[in-house]
């Protein structure tokens, strides 16, 4: 019985979250709020990946905005082309450029190719980068700094290429999502549901990963990387697998973010955005199954609410959140709650 709860308890929790996101939320929230929740779901998808890489794998990925951006821009390019019509080219290219489209945009006319790219591009990028980094045993702070440098470089590159990527403004004004008109509230709801569904899907995936032998191996690698070598495993491969999965999840989050937010721009994918993604994971509890997702939803909600009422205070809040959580609850709020609960329960156990 006890082991049944331990095995399937998390699944029940995921199911509850699924009902809340897929049934309750669409019924009670206004279209505006629901769309906002959709954005939080996208961040949460990326956060689930960060939980896998950082919480379980010990790799502090400070540049997940890059992969979020790869997915986001891939999707946005397709939506721009869809909005432009069969032979058309995106409006901003006429505005800033000479009206010719770079060749590498062309394949994104195809929806199938775009979906493939959203998975394959971040996977290949993360595999190459991760291979280079992990095989040389670069880790810890060095790894974190390198990934953040990547985010800085990525955003700089985007801003500099206004004719190809829309530069600082990014890509916006999408009208269709794979044939569905995005101005239709019903379709917006559908896009939301896809995002929420993908979040649930990612949660189920990491649930299986965490209970699998790979999950145990990942923790072992996090806690004693050199020791894993003497179990006959190359820890680089273990970390690489987690890093690639995290990158693909970030990309999926970004891909859904573009149609929901209606825009993807460098400020959604730069170093600050990457740090923002980490904030939710740290808050919720990096090593827990649901912690990163719930934390990301909460931080996303906090960001919308606070920046609505106090636009300037949000940054203070985010900064203070980092300081407080890392200083006081390094394992996240959820674990703090758990610890408090045990303090309350223990005295009862002591008196039989």
């Amino acid at each position: 019985m006890k082991s049944l709860v331990r095995t399937f308890g998390p699944l029940v929790a995921i199911a509850v979250l699924a009902v809340l996101l897929l049934v309750v939320a669409p019924a009670v929230l206004s279209p505006f709020r629901l769309n906002n929740l959709g954005k939080y779901c996208c961040w949460a998808i990326a956060a689930v990946g960060i939980g896998l890489a950082w919480g379980r794998g010990g790799m502090l990925v400070m540049g997940q905005g890059v992969f979020f951006g790869i997915g986001g821009y891939a999707m946005a390019m397709h939506l721009k082309l869809e909005a432009a019509g069969p032979e058309g080219i995106p409006d901003f290219m006429l505005l800033y450029g000479d009206g010719t489209m770079p060749g590498w945009w062309e394949p994104f006319r195809s929806g199938a190719f775009t979906l493939f790219a959203i998975i394959a591009l971040p996977a290949v990028a993360a595999a190459i980068l991760g291979y280079a980094i992990f095989k040389r045993r670069v880790k810890g702070a060095y790894f974190a700094i390198l990934t953040q440098a990547l985010a800085v470089v990525f955003a700089t590159l985007l801003i500099a290429t206004i004719q190809e990527t829309g530069g600082f403004n990014g890509l916006n004004q999408f009208t269709f999502f794979f044939g569905y008109n995005l101005y239709d509230p019903v379709n917006k709801k559908m896009v939301y549901s896809i995002a929420a569904g993908l979040l649930i899907g990612c949660l189920v995936l990491v649930w299986q990963l965490y209970r699998s032998r790979f999950g145990e191996l990942l923790i072992a690698t996090r806690d004693a990387e050199e020791r894993v070598r003497f179990l006959g495993h190359d820890p680089a491969n273990v970390k690489l697998a987690a890093f690639v999965v995290a990158a693909v999840m970030a990309s999926i989050g970004g891909a859904m973010f573009a149609p929901i937010a209606g825009i993807i721009s460098p400020s959604d994918v730069d170093a600050t955005a990457s740090i923002f993604l980490i904030a939710g994971v740290a808050l919720g509890g990096r090593a827990l199954l649901l912690g990163p997702a719930l934390g990301a939803l909460a931080v996303g909600y906090g960001r919308s609410t606070l920046s609505e009422s106090f636009p300037d205070q949000w940054t203070y809040f985010l900064g203070a959140l980092f300081i407080a959580v890392i200083l006081l609850f390094p394992a996240g709020l959820a674990s703090a709650v758990g610890r408090a609960a045990r303090l309350v329960v223990r005295p009862k156990e002591a008196t039989p």
Binding site: R213, A220, R227, G232
Partner: protein, 260 residues
């Protein structure tokens, strides 16, 4: 995975051969032209004062430090292989400070050691029940009662046994143990010694040790190292009778310091 019991033909053929092994740390030869043949079915002890090169020798054979010369096991050149490949070839080791995965349970620690023989796809599945080889190892090292405890709460001696158990699960045919009984109580030492003799029957066991009482009681063969070289090899009685060895231990013993 299988724990295969060697047929009589194999006996004596599975040995670790070391010839002219040298480890050079920027001009300082920590290990200097060592020749050793480590046969199966014996508990082999490696002794010597601090800085004699014992740990470095094991490091070289397990891919932790680069070395020249030859270290061969089952026709595989260990010196050209990376650590995890050496483990897969059947040569396992432990470390002076027991390193177990503290957050994982005893069972998970042992199970993870069996991962060498699993396909990547099998890694994605959850463990169901206790694999027979894990159960066997649990019994052998006497941790069956503690299998669901997190390894972090184990006593020092139990952690060393867990490490030996992990070597059993990963089916290491050669076990290189670096001071496995350091810090153990007399009782724990006895148990460990008995355990080593038990599992040593069909394996090659090499133990680095300082405690002479322990060596006296459990060693089949003893190799004395000094200043990176093999001083002499023989039975415990022979070693103890040697004036050379006595001089190393009692005379100008402490030469150089530990480098690891």
């Amino acid at each position: 995975m299988k724990i295969d019991h060697p047929s009589p033909d194999d006996l004596g053929q599975d040995y670790l051969e070391i010839r002219g092994l040298t480890v050079d740390f920027d001009g300082f030869k920590a290990v200097d032209g060592v020749d050793l043949t480590l046969l199966q079915g014996r508990v082999h002890f490696l002794i010597g004062p601090n800085g004699a090169g014992k740990t470095t020798l094991v490091d070289a054979a397990t891919g932790l430090v680069p070395a020249t010369g030859l270290a061969r096991y089952r026709n595989q050149d260990l010196l050209s292989m990376r650590s995890h490949k050496i483990v897969r070839a059947g040569v396992g080791r432990t470390f002076q400070t027991a390193t177990v995965f503290e957050e994982l349970s005893v069972l998970q620690n042992l199970d993870i050691a069996g991962g060498v023989h699993r396909s990547p796809f099998a890694l994605l599945r959850a463990r169901r029940g206790v694999p027979s080889y894990v159960a066997e190892a649990l019994e052998t090292v006497g941790l069956a009662d503690l299998r669901d405890r997190p390894a972090g709460v184990l006593a020092h001696g139990q952690k060393q046994w867990l490490e030996i158990g992990m070597l059993l699960v990963q089916d290491a045919r050669v076990m290189l143990l670096d001071e496995p009984v350091a810090g153990m109580s007399a009782e724990e030492r006895e148990e460990t010694g008995a355990l080593l003799q038990r599992i040593g029957e069909e394996r090659t066991i090499v133990v680095i040790e300082h405690d002479m009482d322990f060596v006296r009681e459990f060693a089949d063969v003893v190799t004395v190292m000094h200043a990176g070289k093999v001083l002499m090899e023989g039975s415990v009685t022979e070693i103890q009778a040697s004036p050379e060895v006595q001089e190393v231990y009692l005379g100008r013993t402490v030469e150089g310091t530990s480098h690891a």
